[in-house]
């Protein structure tokens, strides 16, 4: 199955890998936003996850430890954000921007001396004979464990939000924090936990870039992936399965763009490289044009500061 010199099976298999970082970050941000907090620092958490994961993996020699380190780095950043926005009640937009700027600087600082180092390789899971199935084999059974984890997280998030009490509390806090507070739920605790989950996911997503996608460390290597994750949450109207769809569409465009370059299509490289960003804008426009903010599914308390005595 090849179209215009591009093998479709390979394309789908590689788009799953390309999408995994933004999928992880977006599903984490979805939970944070469902609790009513807008964390614009996803990019900062991702890049910190990328470098912490990289350092942890290089020193331990184990990619699993690396991903754990990445999640830890992201969580630490999220805690910083939670402290500022939940305890000190700072503006969420400004704090998110600060988190991104700080993360970019600090990660470059930590990453000194790691340029050109190769991290330990993350192997694909071995599904034995299943990998040999034509078409389905390469698409479904030839990936590393993080790809499957990201898919499991989507399913888990969906189930928790829809069927569990935890999901109900999370949504209550995000929709109306005053009412949730009056019912006795601890708004700040719920939000801090949601932010930590978001940070851990974003950190793992970042680590996936530095350990699997590239795999190397260079300053600012997330290159806007965190911002795209934010856009995907809006695109998905805060629904887990649509996050998966959005991330895969975006990953698909990225991969297709690379394949087109490799296939020698006569379009300047830069025009192809800007395509994913332009398509993100286009998708945002289509999503926003169809429905207003209220109907789009945004949590009603999103971005509002919660202060108990007010």
């Amino acid at each position: 199955m090849t179209i215009g010199g591009i093998d479709l099976v390979v394309l789908i298999a590689s788009l799953m890998v390309a999408s995994t970082p933004i999928l992880l970050a977006a599903i984490g941000e979805l939970i944070a936003e469902k609790s009513g907090v807008l964390n614009l620092g996803v990019e900062g958490m991702m890049i910190m996850g990328a470098i912490c994961g990289f350092v942890a993996a290089v020193h331990s020699g184990s990619p699993v430890v690396g991903f754990f380190g990445g999640a830890l780095g992201g969580t630490a950043m999220a805690l910083l954000f939670a402290f500022l926005t939940q305890i000190l009640l700072s503006n969420q937009v400004a704090t998110g921007l600060a988190l991104t700027l700080f993360g970019l600087g600090l990660s470059a600082l930590i990453g000194q001396g790691y340029n050109g180092v190769r991290p330990p390789q993350t192997d694909n899971l071995n599904f034995g004979p299943l990998t040999q199935i034509p078409v389905l084999g390469p698409i479904l059974f030839q990936h590393d464990w993080v790809v499957y984890l990201s898919l499991a997280l989507v399913a888990g998030t969906w189930a928790v939000l829809r069927y569990s009490r935890v999901g109900l509390i999370l949504r209550a806090v995000g929709e109306n924090h005053d009412a949730a507070h009056a019912l006795g739920y601890r708004v700040r605790t719920v939000r801090t936990l949601a932010l930590m989950f978001g940070g851990a996911c974003a950190g793992m997503g970042g680590a996936y870039i530095s350990l699997v996608r590239v795999p190397q460390w260079s300053d600012g290597m997330t290159a806007g992936a965190g911002w795209i994750a934010l856009a995907i949450v809006v695109f998905a109207s805060w629904r887990p399965w649509r996050v998966l769809l959005g991330a895969y569409i975006f990953g698909g465009v990225t991969v297709l763009q690379l394949r087109l370059q490799a296939a020698g299509i006569a379009i300047p490289v830069q025009i192809l490289s800007m395509a994913p960003y332009l398509i993100t804008i286009l998708v945002l426009v289509i999503m926003s044009a169809r429905r207003g903010r209220a109907a789009i599914g945004a949590p009603a308390s999103l971005g509002r500061i919660f202060h108990a005595s007010s």
């Binding site: 910083l80 700080f102 600082l109 856009a231």
Partner: protein, 359 residues
Amino acid sequence: MLRLEKRAAPSRFWTVVTPILAVVATMLAGGLLFALLGKPPFEAIRVIFWEPLFGANTAYTLPQLLVKAGPLILIAVGLSLGFRAGIWNIGAEGQYIIGAICGAAVALAFYPAAHWYIFPLMVIAGGLGGWAWAMIPAILKNRFGTNEILVSLMLVYVAENILSWVSFGPLRNPQGYGFPGSRNLQNYPSAHNADLIPNSGLHWGVVTAFLAVIAAYVLLNRHRLGYQIRVAGQAPRAARFAGVSPQRLVSFCLGTSGALAGLAGLFEVAGPSGQLSPDFNTGYGFTAIIVAFLGRLHPVGILLAGFLMALTYIGGEMAQLSLNLPSAAIQAFQGMLLFFLLAFDVLSNYRIRAKENAK
């Protein structure tokens, strides 16, 4: 335990004091960071904050202070208008790039003719370019309700790609031996944004920045539109009842900040930088966000904050040379500054009271 009590209006005292507190805290935390990196903390702080102002190389550093502060102030003044009204343009970096490309393109179209009107035309082109780039998120927000934060930011990456494309393609110097990058405008007198007093660092961009500060001050304090901006930020519902059109505000705030960022880009490409190249932009558009907040979104505050931030840039460069401090350290340092500022802001918006347990 402590509890927070919301103030009816932000405390004037703390509004002025928190930026100073934030700078002091950043110095302390930064010193700690440098110590962790194995650099002498006091020496590093001294090199960053003292040396550029009173050190041995002031003939170089003081003009550089103007050169760096100019674009930061110019961009931050524009951004602050929107931030006050709750309109978040964080794509100034892209508008800066597009302004530079448009301005340089005009200059290169005339090359090598010598006319007095070339530079003014470049200024207009630069401002228009930045304005147009910022009007994309504005129009999309007004027409479709699209989030301006995301769109303006995505456009930064698009602008960077355009910059790379023109430096390799249409605007490449035909006599540049195939290297990417345009002709150097410093060697083209009609287009060069030279220092008004030689070696003072005072070029037209710095003058424009000062003018922008004055204009923004007058706008915010003496003009209806400035009043509307302030009301829209503090009480959006009240603003709508008072007949403020949100759409007009969005177009005005985004358009103005875009035009100013575009001008900053043009003055940079025609002056200190000289040519377009794939790595022409250095992040002024993002740093200006910190400047705007550090200056409390107030024109005069932004003027001071711009100089402070320029100081950390130059001090950071000097620390790179003399102490081998990595360039990224300064970026982390600037991020920290914004954190501390936001953290201390709790003091201006809330009163801290001891919690009474028995009531």
